[in-house]
């Protein structure tokens, strides 16, 4: 296989040992995002014939004049009729190496809320720049949100290269300009790829029409970017979800603590401390349906059995005595507001962090950040839908937190409106 060529043309028989990679895309109607996704799905044989027929039929009814691949992702009647995307859509494709989940987020005014949602579970963000238009405000905003959510890998696809005669100087100019903006952000792995989503150049295979480009195709990059080490494997954190007590004859005295390893590596025999009680014990076994494991790491769901019969319940945090999260009664956090009902200072919300829920009062809104200029408005006295600000929250009972920058799983939280039960805020601990 030619270097830089993706594993194209092979049947999509993802081996059961392939790796799962999640990425977020964002963009507006005309930057070619849907065409690009359609191209990735089509070229990896992830679009089925009946889906394509249905899209062709819907395109015809709308008078599009071509098979509008954007309709693949627009699932609801209102979306197809109005040509808008209401919400985050999840799409799936795989190659023999990897299975991908795309969180496809629309570019209209609900954009920030949706992109934050899509980005929260993503390993990588894909930003499109129209080669003719250069770096727009929207492209900068995408990159900022990816950085805020601590996505480690950013791919900037400079699209519609066919419309600028595959001119290297256009690509270079955009690369330099965008890199200047990215220097202000906290993203270290950035890859620029010149593509034509419509014609497939550099999407799956290297394009012969841009011999000056020395990098790989987009799909090759997606298949090879190293995401496994993005997990925090250093700080063992195990939020207890559920206490397993069979009370059967066979397992009469068994008590196990079920949960998903948030970070770090836990091993049988490890000394652990349970927060908030501070009681210590050792891991007697790491149990699963298949039997005991020697060690557990994120994101495995397991059940910990401890040597000592100590009181542990849902919401407790199991960690190592010499490496603990911060016991916080107050937290500073960046919060993206997700509700039509604005955040008001001094309001009270439920806060859900790992498996623990408490009440939070907004003590202070330190500033609101302009996602386009990064300007900090210290005079702001509220957050509207899609706005992002830095808050100080006071908590009714302690939460066991790490900085989001160090640990996504124990640094993230959601705010819930007590009267409507809606999820109104997405928070990242500073």
């Amino acid at each position: 296989m030619a270097p830089g060529a993706a594993t194209n043309g092979q049947p999509p028989t993802a081996a059961s040992t392939s790796e799962l990679v999640r990425f977020a895309t964002a963009g507006s109607v005309d930057d070619g995002k849907s065409t690009l996704i359609g191209r990735l799905l089509y070229d990896t044989k992830s679009i089925f014939e009946d889906q394509l027929e249905s899209v062709a039929r819907a395109s015809g009814q709308r008078g599009d004049g071509y098979v509008n691949l954007a309709l693949l992702t627009d699932g609801l009647r209102a979306e197809r009729e109005q040509g808008i995307t209401i919400d985050v859509a999840y799409r799936y494709f795989h190659t023999p190496r990897r299975k991908f989940i795309i969180a496809d987020t629309p570019g209209h005014e609900q954009y920030t809320r949706n992109m934050v949602t899509g980005a929260s579970t993503s390993d990588l963000a894909l930003v499109l720049v129209d080669a003719r238009k250069g770096v727009l405000e929207q492209s900068r905003r995408h990159a900022f949100i990816a950085s805020l959510l601590r996505i480690r890998h950013l791919v900037v696809c400079v699209n519609k290269m066919d419309l600028v005669d595959f001119d290297q100087s256009v690509f270079d100019r955009i690369t330099v300009e965008f890199s200047g903006w990215l220097a202000k952000l906290d993203i270290h792995d950035v890859t620029f790829i010149p593509i034509s989503a419509l014609h497939g150049d550099n999407v799956v295979d290297r394009s012969a029409r841009m011999p000056w480009y020395a990098g790989t195709s987009l799909l090759y990059h997606l298949e090879h970017v190293h995401v496994a080490s993005d997990r925090n494997l250093r700080d063992p954190r195990f939020p207890v979800q559920w206490v397993v007590r069979p009370m059967s004859d066979e397992h009469h005295d068994y008590r196990g603590y079920a949960g998903e390893v948030a970070s770090g590596v836990l091993r049988t025999g490890d000394e652990v401390v349970v927060l908030p009680s501070g009681r210590t014990s050792r891991i007697a076994s790491i149990d699963t349906f298949e039997g005991a494991l020697d060690e557990a790491y994120p994101p495995l769901s397991v059940t910990l059995h401890l040597e000592d019969d100590i009181d542990v319940s849902r919401g407790d945090m199991i960690c190592r005595p010499e490496n603990r999260p911060k016991e916080a009664r107050e937290i500073d956090a960046m919060v993206c507001w997700m509700s039509e009902r604005p955040l008001s200072p001094s309001a009270r919300y439920r806060i859900k962090h790992t498996t623990r829920t408490a009440l939070a009062k907004v003590d202070e809104l330190r500033y609101r950040i302009d996602v386009n200029s990064l300007h900090r408005d210290k005079e702001a006295n509220g957050l509207e839908l899609n706005e992002i600000g830095r808050l100080r929250l006071r908590l009714s009972s302690p939460l066991f937190v790490d900085e989001y920058a160090r640990n996504r799983a124990t640094g993230s939280f959601i705010l819930i409106d007590e009267s409507t039960n809606d999820t109104v805020g997405a928070g990242m601990v500073l």
Partner: protein, 315 residues
């Protein structure tokens, strides 16, 4: 002590701790199941006897092992079942030791809650929504686990893993709660309930690969067998007492298998010789048509057939 002044645990630095996509999907599903069981008091697992609900039940067993399921299993029974599926259901539920509730569409008809469709194209598919919602209300269930996947159908692609239903059982696609990280918001008001789809991020191929890896048992109709079928609207249907043939329809015998399990009146078969799990996985990997497009008459009514049924309270 905070992490800032503590020595990092160095042992994670040198190893990759890789995890396959099936294990990642499995872990995500188990996390969702445990989270919902913990946050919502009365749960129920909706079990059709199909492959997705078989995987779902298996994951629920794993989630609470070595304890049993903390919720019952419910079958919404149209009365128009494949006998092989009922046999499988009863055997599996007994093996798992779960409590089985059967919510009967026939009873809903007898009570006058719904009216049976008539004619050769009659189906009890849509009636299930009423039976399901009645059963949820009768038992006071707050959370109903289902095996639906986002790759199945495009209205489903827009649905949350934890999906809210108002006190009429309706889904409002425009008023869904954002789902961030792995933090699920299980707060609901009296009368409301949630549908929970732990397999949201699985594809049909993932499900089959997982069944193969875990060597899960399935109803025999998923594997190639000789059966008397007839052709309608380009699809093959099993002949049965539940379906009236049109004058032009001639039954014939063919080697078929089913890709989905639903009401006998609306579930089509595919011509196949795949008799083992490995052969089915190979066939699914090579197929160019979606399972619902190939085998489900209930989705062919209109472009938005699923969306409309979901809004009424369908699975």
């Amino acid at each position: 002590m905070s992490v800032l002044d503590s020595p990092p645990d160095s042992r994670g630095d040198h190893m990759s701790y890789e995890i396959s996509h099936l294990r990642a999907l499995e872990s995500e599903a188990i996390h969702v199941i445990r989270e919902v069981a913990a946050e919502l008091e009365r749960g129920v697992l909706l079990f059709s006897g199909g492959k997705d609900s078989a995987v779902l039940l298996h994951l629920a067993r794993k989630a609470f092992h070595p304890a049993g399921l903390p919720f019952p299993v419910m079958h919404v029974d149209t009365g128009h079942n494949f006998p092989e599926v009922i046999e499988y259901r009863d055997r599996l539920v007994a093996e798992v030791g779960a409590q089985l509730i059967v919510a009967s569409v026939q009873e809903s008809i007898d009570k006058g809650r719904v009216t049976e469709e008539k004619g050769p194209r009659a189906s009890r598919n849509r009636l299930q929504s009423v039976t399901l919602l009645d059963a949820i209300e009768e038992h006071g269930f707050k959370a109903a686990f289902g095996g639906a996947r986002r790759d199945e159908e495009r209205a489903r692609a827009k649905e949350r893993i934890m999906s809210f239903r108002d006190d009429f059982g309706q889904w409002d696609p425009k008023a869904q709660r954002p789902e961030l990280w792995n933090l699920y918001n299980g707060h609901i008001k009296p009368g409301e309930h949630v549908r929970v789809f732990p397999l949201s991020n699985w594809t049909e191929l993932d499900v089959w690969q997982y069944i193969n890896e875990e060597q899960l048992g399935l109803p025999t109709i998923y594997f190639a067998h000789e059966r008397e079928v007839f052709r309608r609207d380009g699809m093959l249907y099993a002949t049965s007492e539940f379906v009236e043939l049109l004058p032009s329809e001639e039954p014939f015998s063919k080697s078929v298998r089913f890709r989905t399990v639903g009401d006998m009146s609306c579930t089509g078969a595919v011509a196949s010789r795949a008799a083992t799990l490995e052969e089915v996985v190979a066939e699914i990997a090579a197929t160019r048509i979606t399972e619902r497009g190939e085998t489900r008459a209930d989705d062919r009514i209109s472009e938005a057939a699923m969306e409309d049924r979901k809004k009424e309270g369908y699975f």
